[in-house]
């Protein structure tokens, strides 16, 4: 800093520590609740220190679900569904966006700009504003209660296409020239030159889109009625709404923690790619 003001630095640390604690507190409470038995939940306010039922609770929810209520399949299955959905959406978005961006940047063909604007328009049409008609389309195609229905309608991506387009525009023309002189066709150039160069962008985008896919809520809520396809994030709300009167909050909180751990780990472990992805997709 510019000048040395110890008390100000101290105040800054104090504010930050306070901020970190306040931000973490809801998750701490959730963790504590998930380590107690049902009796502790029913007897007044939730305890502030962890209990002894950690392993029991997590084993119960992971492998046998919440038990009594019918709408709660084992959480392990829901997490698997979420994982399939998140990975399929992330990879699907990257795959179709990178080739579309390649076509728009490296080829000249009729309707090129029309296609580009069509992709741009998807930015303005989030699922939330076209819920019912999109549902009808998916239902009409027979994609309800399937992994295809969960993922395919979500993999069009204007942001990913823009990101790759931006990146391709910064790749020196000499590379394409050299590749052409050496006799490489467009596909060969894409595979051997552009794809390796795009590695860091792909990694950054993967982190962002994995989180996007894992955290989908409204879409799975619409297209799945069969428990075998429930994802964990939307599964929780069904549990919360079934479990009234504080009955099994310890188990619900265990599920909640399981639902938030995978994306949080991805963000913390791949922080650099995450920040890069976040900043670049917004440019």
């Amino acid at each position: 800093m510019v000048e040395n003001r110890p008390w100000l630095t101290f105040a800054a640390h104090a504010v930050l520590v306070l901020g970190v604690l306040v931000v973490a507190f809801p998750v701490y409470m959730t963790f504590v609740a998930s380590t107690h038995d049902q009796a502790a939940m029913l007897s007044g306010p939730v305890p502030l220190v962890p209990g002894r039922y950690l392993v029991d609770n997590y084993r119960t929810v992971l492998f046998s679900g919440l038990g009594a209520s019918s709408s709660s399949p084992p959480v392990a299955l829901m997490m698997l569904n979420s994982l399939v959905m998140a990975v399929a959406i992330a990879l699907g978005k990257i795959a179709i966006s990178i080739i579309a961006a390649y076509a728009v940047v490296y080829f000249k063909f009729p309707l090129r700009m029309t296609f580009f604007w069509m992709i741009f328009i998807t930015l303005m049409l989030p699922v939330e504003v076209r819920i019912l008609p999109t549902y009808e389309v998916v239902a009409g195609l027979g994609l309800l209660n399937s992994y295809a229905g969960l993922t395919i309608p979500l993999i069009a991506s204007a942001t990913a296409t823009f990101l790759f387009r931006q990146f391709f525009l910064t790749v020196p023309d000499e590379l394409a020239e050299a590749a052409r002189i050496d006799g490489a066709g467009p596909l060969r150039f894409f595979r051997d030159v552009l794809l390796p160069l795009s590695r860091t962008s792909i990694a950054a985008l993967f982190v962002i889109q994995f989180i996007y896919g894992w955290n989908q809520y409204l879409w799975p809520l619409l297209v799945t009625t069969n428990e075998d396809y429930y994802t964990v994030v939307m599964g929780i709300s069904r549990m919360v709404n079934v479990v009234d009167a504080a009955a099994k909050w310890n188990l619900v909180m265990a599920v909640t923690l399981l639902a938030l751990i995978p994306p949080v780990i991805v963000v913390v472990v791949m922080q650099r790619q995450f920040v890069k992805g976040l900043v670049e997709t917004e440019k």
Binding site: I121, V233, Q271
Partner: protein, 293 residues
């Protein structure tokens, strides 16, 4: 826009854009067109012939007190979420920019809520404020404040605002911190030499230079509050009690899927589309001109 060196191929570029365009057409543009179409028809009650009614659905919508109420709730909700999440994250970012030691650690501990789904954030907060077992409801009630968000609309709104704000702080924090770190140190030093203290420097140098970031975040946060908070509302309050937290996006869902009122739901979709389009245009026009990285 296009490379100087390009490849020549007739069919290949079409094949390359085909998957993206197919999905865009089938799942985005076609449903959106359907919504626009349905918004000017009234469907017969038993699936009979739809009748073309011009803008009747829209006039009905804007004279419906429930809808106007929902508009007001949405405005209060998004204004509060945007204000609090921007203000809190700005404070944290300014502090993190100040400390040299440990800045990275703080960053790690502050960014992770971004990864928490809005619905999950809602459950976390709903649990802490649960009327019968929540820790904060217990404390509030003991201090003589009657807390029960299941019955009290105002409290329910405060709760979902808190959850949404918590969820959005990390995103704003990251962008504010990046913005702060890109401000040239020489400017700050020059001001310090001229005798400006930290507070003065913040108001006259840092804040104006941060305004493009702040403006960008303003738009992003409004979009978040309008559209991505569906999960919070659905998981915590279901729009209740007595529609006190029924934001527009939740109302579209509710009227379409529960009420099965096609025309009205479609008209609401069209209104929302107009809002997103406006916000997106604002975002793109201003960002291109004013943000300099």
């Amino acid at each position: 826009m296009i490379k100087r060196v390009i490849f020549r191929a007739k069919l290949l570029p079409y094949l390359l854009v085909a998957p993206q365009i197919a999905i865009t057409l089938i799942f985005f543009i076609w449903p959106a067109a359907q919504a626009v179409k349905q918004s000017v028809f009234i469907e017969g009650a038993f699936g009979g012939n739809a009748e073309f009614v011009w803008l009747e659905n829209f006039t009905a919508l804007f004279s419906d007190p429930n809808y106007l109420h929902s508009v007001r709730v949405t405005i209060v909700f998004s204004a509060a979420v945007t204000f609090f999440s921007l203000a809190l994250s700005l404070v944290l970012a300014v502090m993190a920019d100040r400390v040299i030691r440990g800045a990275h650690v703080y960053k790690t501990f502050l960014v992770w809520p971004y990864a928490v789904a809005p619905a999950v954030a809602g459950v976390l907060w709903g649990f802490m404020f649960n009327p019968s077992i929540g820790i904060f409801s217990y404390l509030l009630n003991r201090w003589g404040y009657e807390w029960n968000y299941v019955l009290n609309g105002g409290q329910a709104l405060v709760l979902v605002i808190a959850a949404a704000t918590w969820n959005q702080i990390s995103y704003n924090f990251l962008f504010f911190l990046a913005g702060l770190q890109s401000i040239p140190k020489s400017l700050i030093e020059a001001a310090a030499i001229d005798g400006a203290g930290p507070g003065r420097r913040f108001w006259t140098i840092i804040l104006p230079l941060l305004s493009p970031t702040a403006f960008f975040l303003l738009v992003v946060n409004v979009v978040y509050a309008f559209f991505q908070t569906f999960g919070i509302i659905h998981a915590v309050t279901q729009g209740g009690p007595a529609k006190a937290t029924e934001i527009l996006v939740f109302k579209v869902y509710n009227d379409g899927f529960r009420g099965l009122d096609l025309g009205s739901s479609a008209a609401q979709s069209v209104v929302l589309m107009a809002i997103v389009i406006t916000l997106t245009v604002i975002q793109f026009r201003y960002i291109e001109r004013r943000v300099h990285y």
